[in-house]
Amino acid sequence: MTEQEKATAYWKENIKYLIILLTIWFLVSYGAGILFKDALDTIKIAGFKLGFWFAQQGSMYVFVILIFVYVRIMNKLDKKYGYED
C-alpha cells in the first residue's frame, strides 16, 4: 500500500466506527430517552420507568462507555496502520 492508500483505508475504517458509535449515541438519548420514552415507560425496573431512566441516567452511562470504546478501537486502529506516536 502506498502512503496515500493507507491514509484512505484508515480514514474509511475510522468513519465506519464513527457511524456505528454515533448511531448508538442517538438511539439511547434521542431514541430511548425522548422519541420512544412513553412506550418504554410501560416497563418498570425497580422504581424506575425505563424511558425516564434512560433520559436521566442510562443515556449518560452509555455516553461514557461509548467514548472509552472509541478510545480502544482507535488505539488498535492506529497500531494496525502504524500511526501511533
Binding site: A7, Y10, W11, N14, L18, L21, L22, W25, S29, Y30, G33, I34, L35, K37, D41, I45, A46, G47, F48, K49, F52, W53, A55, Q56, Q57, S59, M60, Y61, F63, V64, L66, I67, F68, Y70, V71, M74, N75, D78, G82, Y83, E84, D85
Partner: protein
C-alpha cells in the same frame, strides 16, 4: 479526642464556611504561584504536556459551572422529566467532542478555535468572524459566572453581592493573569476535587436517610426506608399530581421541543471554545481522546447524582411544608425566607401553607437554587456539610470563569493582535498583551456581574445555541469535508449566528414586538433554547450550497485536512 469532637460540633455554620472557603482559596493561590506561566505556549495551552487525567479533571471543573452545581438539581426538581434536556444535552456533547473534534483539533496543533478556522479556511475574514463568535459566546457565559460567584459569596459569607463579585474578580485575576492556562489547569484540578466532594457528601447522606441506599443513583429508584414498600418515584408522582402538577416522571414540554433543546445543548457543548481549547493542552492525539473520556466520566458522576438530589429535595420539600401551619415551619424555612428565595403569602389567611400548581391558590414561591443550597439544612445534616457546599459552589463558579477569561484573552492577544493587527509582535510582547487582555476581560465580566443587564440571565442559556449555530458546522465540515471552502464556511457561520441572534431577540427578549410573542408563534413549536439546532442545520445547508458554486480550497489546505486525519506526529501546539 473528646474535646476536639466537641469543638467540631460546637462550630457554627458561619465558622465552618469561613474555614473551608479560606482553606480552599489558599490552596488555589498556592497552586497558581507554583505553576505560573513563562511563555505564550504555557499561557495559552499549559505547555502542551498536561496528563490526560489532569486535563480530564480540569475540563470537568471548567465545564461544571455555578449553574451545574447550584441551579441544575433545582431546575430538574421543578421540571421533572423535562430536566433531562440538561442532563443529556450537557453530557452527550462530549461524545461528539471526543469522536468528531478533539483528536483532529489536537493534531492540527494550534492555540485557539479561531486559529483553526482561520487556517483551515485560509482567510482573515473567517478568522475575524470566528473571533467575533468566540467573544459573543464567552462574554455572555462569563457574566453569568461572575454573578454566580457574587451570589454564593453573599449567601454564605453574608457580604453583599457586589462585594462578592469584587472578591471573586480579585481571586480569578490573580491566578488567571499570573498562571495563564497552566495555572488555571492545575487550579481546576483542585477545584474539581472540592466541588465533587461537596456535591456528593450531602447527596449520599440524604439518599441514606430517605431510602437506606448510600448510592444516590440507585437510591432514587428504591423503596422508601419508612417500611411502606412504596417506591420513592411513585410517591413523588403521587404527591405531584395531588397538588395539581404534572406527573414528575412525565414532564410537560412537547417531544419536538425536548428533542431540539437537547440537540442544541449537545452540539453547543461540543462547539464551546473554552471546552475545545482544553484538548490543545495534552501531549498527543491519543491523549486527547482518552482525556475526553475521563472528562465525561468525571462530569457524569455529578450529572447522574443531580437528578437523584432533585427527587430527594422535592419530596422532602413537599412533605415538610405542604399543608403545614406556617407557625411551626422549621428554622431553615425562615432563614431562606429572609434572603427572598422562599416567599410565602397567606392568600386565604388560614395560616397554612398551600403549595399547589394553581397560580391563584398557590401561596409558596421557591427559587430553584434552594434545592442544592438549603438541601443539607432541610435534611438536618451537620454544619460542616453546609460550609462544604459553599466551598464547592465557589470552586464551580471560579473554575469556569477562569477558563472563559482565558479564551477571551487569547482571542484578543493571539487571534486579533498577533494574527491580524501586529504579526511582528515579540513573544514577550504577546505574553504581556495576553495578561493585559485577561485583566481587561475580568473587569468587563465583573462589571456585568455587578450591573447585570436584564438580558444576561436569559442569554447565558443561549450561549449554547450560538456556539451550535456558528462553530460546530464550520469545524465539522473543515475536518470531514475536504472540498469545503472559505466562501461556504463564512456564509454558514454568518447565517447561523445571525438567525440564532434574531430568533432570540424576537422570541426570548421580545425586542421586535410590544409584548413577548406567545409560545404558539414559535417556529415548529421550538423554543429559543432549542432554536440553536435549527440554526445549526441552516448553517450546514448554507455552507454546502455556497460551496457548490465556488472554487475548491487550494491544494495546501487540502493537504492540511489530509494531515489532521492521521493521528501520528502531533507536535507541540504552536502559534505559528
Amino acid at each position: 479526642m473528646r474535646t476536639s469532637l466537641f469543638l467540631i460540633e460546637a462550630m457554627g455554620v458561619q465558622t465552618w464556611t469561613y474555614v473551608l472557603v479560606g482553606l480552599t482559596f489558599a490552596l488555589y493561590i498556592g497552586i497558581a504561584i507554583w505553576s505560573r506561566a513563562g511563555s505564550t505556549n504555557e499561557f495559552y495551552v499549559a505547555g502542551g504536556g498536561v496528563s490526560p487525567l489532569a486535563n480530564g479533571m480540569a475540563t470537568a471543573a471548567d465545564w461544571m459551572s455555578a449553574a451545574s452545581f447550584i441551579s441544575m438539581a433545582g431546575i430538574i426538581s421543578f421540571a421533572g422529566y423535562d430536566g433531562a434536556v440538561y442532563l443529556m444535552g450537557w453530557t452527550g456533547g462530549y461524545v461528539l467532542l471526543a469522536l468528531l473534534l478533539a483528536p483532529y483539533l489536537r493534531k492540527f496543533g494550534k492555540f485557539t478555535v479561531p486559529d483553526f478556522i482561520g487556517d483551515r479556511y485560509y482567510s482573515k475574514t473567517a478568522r475575524v468572524v470566528a473571533v467575533f463568535c468566540a467573544l459573543i459566546v464567552s462574554f455572555t457565559y462569563v457574566a453569568g459566572q461572575m454573578r454566580g460567584v457574587g451570589i454564593v459569596f453573599s449567601r454564605f459569607l453574608e457580604v453583599d453581592i457586589n462585594t462578592g463579585v469584587i472578591l471573586g474578580m480579585i481571586i480569578v485575576l490573580f491566578y488567571a493573569v499570573l498562571g495563564g492556562m497552566k495555572g488555571i489547569t492545575y487550579t481546576q484540578v483542585a477545584q474539581y476535587c472540592v466541588l465533587i466532594f461537596a456535591f456528593m457528601v450531602p447527596a449520599i447522606f440524604i439518599s441514606l436517610q430517605m431510602t437506606g441506599n448510600p448510592i444516590p443513583q440507585l437510591g432514587f429508584g428504591s423503596q422508601l426506608s419508612d417500611g411502606s414498600g412504596t417506591y420513592l418515584l411513585d410517591k413523588l408522582d403521587g404527591l405531584s399530581t395531588e397538588l395539581g402538577f404534572a406527573e414528575y416522571t412525565s414532564g410537560s414540554k412537547s417531544v419536538i421541543d425536548v428533542f431540539a433543546i437537547t440537540l442544541a445543548l449537545m452540539v453547543g457543548t461540543a462547539g464551546l471554545p473554552h471546552v475545545i481549547v482544553r484538548f490543545f493542552t495534552v501531549k498527543n492525539v491519543k491523549d486527547a481522546r482518552k482525556s475526553a473520556g475521563l472528562a465525561l466520566l468525571l462530569i457524569v458522576i455529578l450529572y447522574t447524582t443531580a437528578p437523584a438530589v432533585s427527587v430527594f429535595a422535592r419530596t422532602n420539600l413537599i412533605e415538610t411544608v405542604s399543608n403545614q401551619p406556617y407557625a411551626t415551619v422549621p428554622e431553615w424555612f425562615k432563614k431562606w425566607e429572609k434572603t427572598g428565595l422562599i416567599v410565602f403569602t397567606d392568600k386565604n389567611k388560614d395560616g397554612i401553607i398551600q403549595y399547589v400548581a394553581n397560580k391563584e391558590q398557590n401561596e409558596l414561591t421557591i427559587d430553584n437554587d434552594i434545592m442544592v443550597l438549603a438541601n443539607p439544612e432541610i435534611a438536618s445534616l451537620p454544619n460542616w456539610v453546609i460550609g462544604l457546599v459553599a466551598a464547592g459552589g465557589l470552586a464551580a463558579a471560579l473554575s469556569t470563569a477562569a477558563g472563559l477569561l482565558l479564551v477571551i484573552s487569547s482571542s484578543v492577544s493571539h487571534d486579533l493582535i498577533k494574527k491580524i493587527i501586529n504579526p511582528k509582535i515579540s513573544e514577550n510582547g504577546e505574553l504581556v498583551a495576553a495578561r493585559l487582555s485577561a485583566v481587561g476581560a475580568v473587569c468587563v465580566a465583573g462589571y456585568f456581574g455587578i450591573n447585570p443587564p436584564g438580558f444576561v440571565a436569559a442569554v447565558v442559556a443561549l450561549a449554547f445555541g450560538l456556539a451550535a449555530a456558528s462553530f460546530f458546522p464550520a469545524i465539522i465540515l473543515g475536518i470531514f469535508y475536504k472540498r469545503m471552502n472559505k466562501e461556504g464556511a463564512i456564509a454558514g457561520m454568518v447565517v447561523g449566528i445571525i438567525s440564532m441572534l434574531l430568533y432570540m431577540m424576537k422570541y426570548k427578549l421580545g425586542w421586535f414586538d410590544e409584548v413577548l410573542p406567545d409560545k404558539s408563534e414559535w417556529w415548529f413549536g421550538i423554543s429559543p433554547e432549542g432554536f440553536g439546532s435549527i440554526a445549526m442545520i441552516l448553517n450546514f445547508i448554507v455552507s454546502i450550497t455556497i460551496m457548490k458554486f465556488t472554487p475548491a480550497p487550494p491544494q495546501d489546505v487540502q493537504d492540511i485536512v489530509e494531515n489532521i486525519r492521521i493521528p501520528s506526529g502531533a507536535g507541540e501546539a504552536t502559534g505559528h
